[in-house]
């Protein structure tokens, strides 16, 4: 009990405190303290799960297995980095932009913490109803954050996000209802039929027609919040218009927890109808998302839109890796979920600094980052390596593991298509990154953020490179256990 409940609670209480503190200088410190505490508690939970196995809490509404602990640790860690960076970033945001938002002081921090609380709650929920509520809450909080500025682009992004995520949410609700219905003859009509652990334990006795229907709607519904094709088009707008730390948290945290929710439906479906049909569908959605994203990454002019399409591509790859079906591929897919989050959060945050320094979001206005500021240049190059999946970044290892697992399995063709997509992505990223990082610095370059704002970025880069060289034993054990949750 004491292990799980405090994690989302800390963030929720922090949100209320920020709202209450308002313009006080303690607001930023509260944000930092709440995210740091949530991260520490998530690490403690991961340790607990490793030593004694899955933990349950709150009368069976919450549970933590290795997959939940993994997602909670990634999300709260990235949130901590975003908060530590955001303190400097938001302070440097011009006063006219703050006036444009027309928000009372403290509301931004409160919404950020509310978003974190919802994501953590969804990662730790056992009841599928609670999971749905939490993810819906997270999308609503982030829709408000996306539409924070009152310029036409931000309003458009918020509107699009709101409509598409509502469609995704209704589809996911239907998936939840259908799964519940498939178990009515086993559990009766009480709330036990919504518990994921109970459903998975009884997967073999569920009604396969409705399990299939539920999985189909879940992959479309939760896929929408994860950024999978075909409901992905909100992501590029949202990532462009939200403040950089928010974009980083939405495109990593919401993605991770939505994919985890999808994986939970997937494991019930596998237990009920066997691996063939669900894995085929995962492969299809994964490949489709990668193929949809790749052309836009080649021709993209705006840095953050490029990252958003990269997010779609990576979400597609994790889905594909799980669909490939072998234990090694699933392990690689989960490792990829971790390392690509590090890489993209780093890319968003360093992009925030560079965007301010150049006074533009367009990549053709950027140039010579390495010459202008070696530290920022190195961080940018590190992020590029991570996004492209090149050694020594951790994404190389995860992609390699997942694809090796795929070559032993029945879906060789899908693995080959994925490799082809990676090659094209590499070409596109190499083109953009050489133009941004190399060459003479731009005349207008002026880094307005203090050096302390780069500390969380160095830590993200360090972790990204570390996981490329060596996966520490506890992390590996956690990933292996999480892979067994996904693939019983």
């Amino acid at each position: 009990m004491a292990w799980i409940l405090p994690i989302p609670l800390v963030a929720a209480i922090g949100a209320l405190a920020c709202l209450w503190l308002g313009a006080s200088r303690w607001t930023a410190r509260t944000l930092l303290a709440a995210t740091a505490l949530a991260f520490a508690l998530s690490l403690a939970l991961a340790g607990r799960v490793l030593s004694v196995g899955p933990v349950r809490a709150a009368d069976g509404w919450l549970q933590a297995d290795a997959l939940s602990a993994l997602v909670a640790a990634i999300v709260s860690g990235i949130a901590l980095a975003c908060a530590a960076y955001g303190v400097h970033y938001m302070a440097a945001v011009g006063s006219h932009e703050r006036a444009e938002a027309r928000w009372p002081a403290g509301r931004h921090e409160a919404l950020l913490l509310l978003l974190l609380a919802c994501i953590l709650l969804s990662a730790l929920a056992d009841s599928l109803g609670l999971l749905w509520i939490a993810i819906e809450g997270a999308t609503l909080a982030s829709a408000l954050l996306v539409g924070v500025h009152r310029r036409p682009g931000a309003v458009e992004a918020g509107w699009k996000y709101l409509l598409l995520s509502s469609v995704g949410a209704t589809l996911a609700l239907f998936a939840t209802v259908a799964l519940f219905h498939s178990a009515v003859h086993v559990f009766g009509e009480g709330p036990a039929g919504l518990r994921w652990t109970a459903l998975r334990g009884a997967a073999g006795r569920l009604d396969p027609r409705f399990v299939k229907l539920a999985f189909l709607f879940a992959i479309a519904g939760y896929g929408a919040t994860a950024g999978l094709a075909p409901i992905h088009s909100w992501l590029p707008d949202a990532c462009t218009q939200a403040p950089a730390p928010v974009a980083a948290l939405v495109s990593t945290g919401l993605l991770a927890t939505s994919l985890a929710a999808l994986l939970r439906f997937h494991s019930v479906a596998i237990g009920c109808v066997g691996p063939g049909w669900p894995n085929g569908l995962m492969t299809l959605f994964g490949i489709a998302s990668m193929l949809v994203a790749v052309p836009f990454m080649l021709v993209q002019g705006e840095y953050r839109r490029l990252l958003a399409y990269s997010s779609i591509e990576h979400a597609g790859f994790v889905t594909l890796a799980v669909g490939l079906g072998s234990p090694l591929a699933v392990f690689g897919g989960l490792l990829h979920l971790v390392v690509q989050s590090l890489a993209r959060a780093l890319a968003f945050l360093v992009g925030g600094t560079l965007g301010r320094a150049h006074g533009s979001r367009r990549m053709d206005h950027w140039g010579g980052a390495l010459a202008a500021s070696p530290a920022l240049g190195a961080l940018l190059v590190g992020a590029g390596l991570g996004l492209a999946g090149l050694p020594p970044a951790g994404t190389f290892v995860s992609e390699w593991l997942a694809l090796t697992g795929g070559f032993g399995g029945p879906r060789l063709g899908a693995a080959i298509v994925a490799i082809a997509a990676f090659v094209v992505v590499f070409a596109g990223l190499a083109y953009h990154w050489t133009r941004m990082a190399l060459g003479p610095p731009r005349a207008r370059f002026e880094d307005r953020l203090p050096a302390a704002s780069r500390l969380p970025l160095w830590i993200l880069l360090g972790l990204l490179l570390l996981l490329g060289a060596w996966v520490p034993a506890p992390v590996r054990a956690l990933l292996e256990q999480a892979a067994r949750v996904v693939l019983p």
Binding site: G129, G147, R150, P152, V155, T170, V177, V184, E189
Partner: protein, 224 residues
């Protein structure tokens, strides 16, 4: 509790009749040029949904489902339509809109979608007789029609009408699949409230403030 519906229910025509009214009102909403008429059609749609939930409540003898039915009636048939109608009247934008395809072609598309929805659901369920067999095909057809309204209209209000039509259709499936699961009914209504009251209001206001009207045509430039 017995998960299967009582014996009289399959023979009852009430659910079939109401499901028909549900689908017709969705199609009627899709055919409207005036936003206010579409909102009125949505109100009928919600009334049909609430009555179906009430029939289910009588059939299963569940007070909780009856409560959910009343909630549906109150929120979906009274509060939300009133909010939408007020927004239309107060808005500076045009109160009429047409599908991008024009009304006749749009209607044909909707009917085709309804037929497809029916066909797929029948293929899934087989020839059943229970309440599910009469509601799930209607639900699938209603979902497709609502989605069509969402993608074919430029007015913000009409896009929201499409969204709430989709929600009603999914909700119909939820009521017929999970009768006796008030939690799900509750959170569905909650979603409606949040989208309709908390978020839609401020956003529509912002679209007006930044673009001069609630038309979203300038919000939909295709971009990479």
């Amino acid at each position: 509790m017995n998960p299967l519906p009582p014996e009289w229910l399959p023979r009852s025509n009430a659910v079939n009749l109401l499901a028909g009214a549900f689908l017709l009102s969705a199609l009627y909403a899709a055919a409207q040029r005036r936003a206010l008429s579409a909102v009125a059609a949505y109100r009928l749609n919600s009334v049909a949904l609430g009555l179906i939930a009430l029939v289910v409540a009588f059939a299963t003898g569940s007070r909780q489902v009856a409560l959910a039915a009343l909630l549906i009636a109150a929120i979906k048939a009274i509060v939300l339509p009133a909010l939408l109608a007020r927004r239309v009247r107060r808005g500076r934008g045009a109160a009429t809109s047409e599908p991008r395809t024009g009304v006749p072609a749009g209607m044909l598309a909707c009917v085709a979608l309804a037929v497809v929805g029916f066909g797929r659901a029948r293929a899934l369920l087989g020839p059943g007789l229970d309440i599910l067999a009469s509601c799930l095909p209607v639900s699938l057809a209603g979902t497709l029609v609502g989605l069509f309204v969402m993608v074919s209209r430029r007015e913000a209000v009409m896009q929201v009408v499409g969204l709430v039509l989709v929600e009603n259709a999914i909700f119909l499936a939820a009521v017929s699949l999970a009768y006796g699961m008030p939690l799900l009914a509750g959170i569905g209504v909650l979603l409606d409230l949040i989208v309709g009251v908390v978020l839609y209001g401020p956003f529509a206001g912002r679209i007006e403030a930044t673009h001069g009207d609630t038309g979203t045509s300038r919000l939909t430039d295709p971009r990479g």
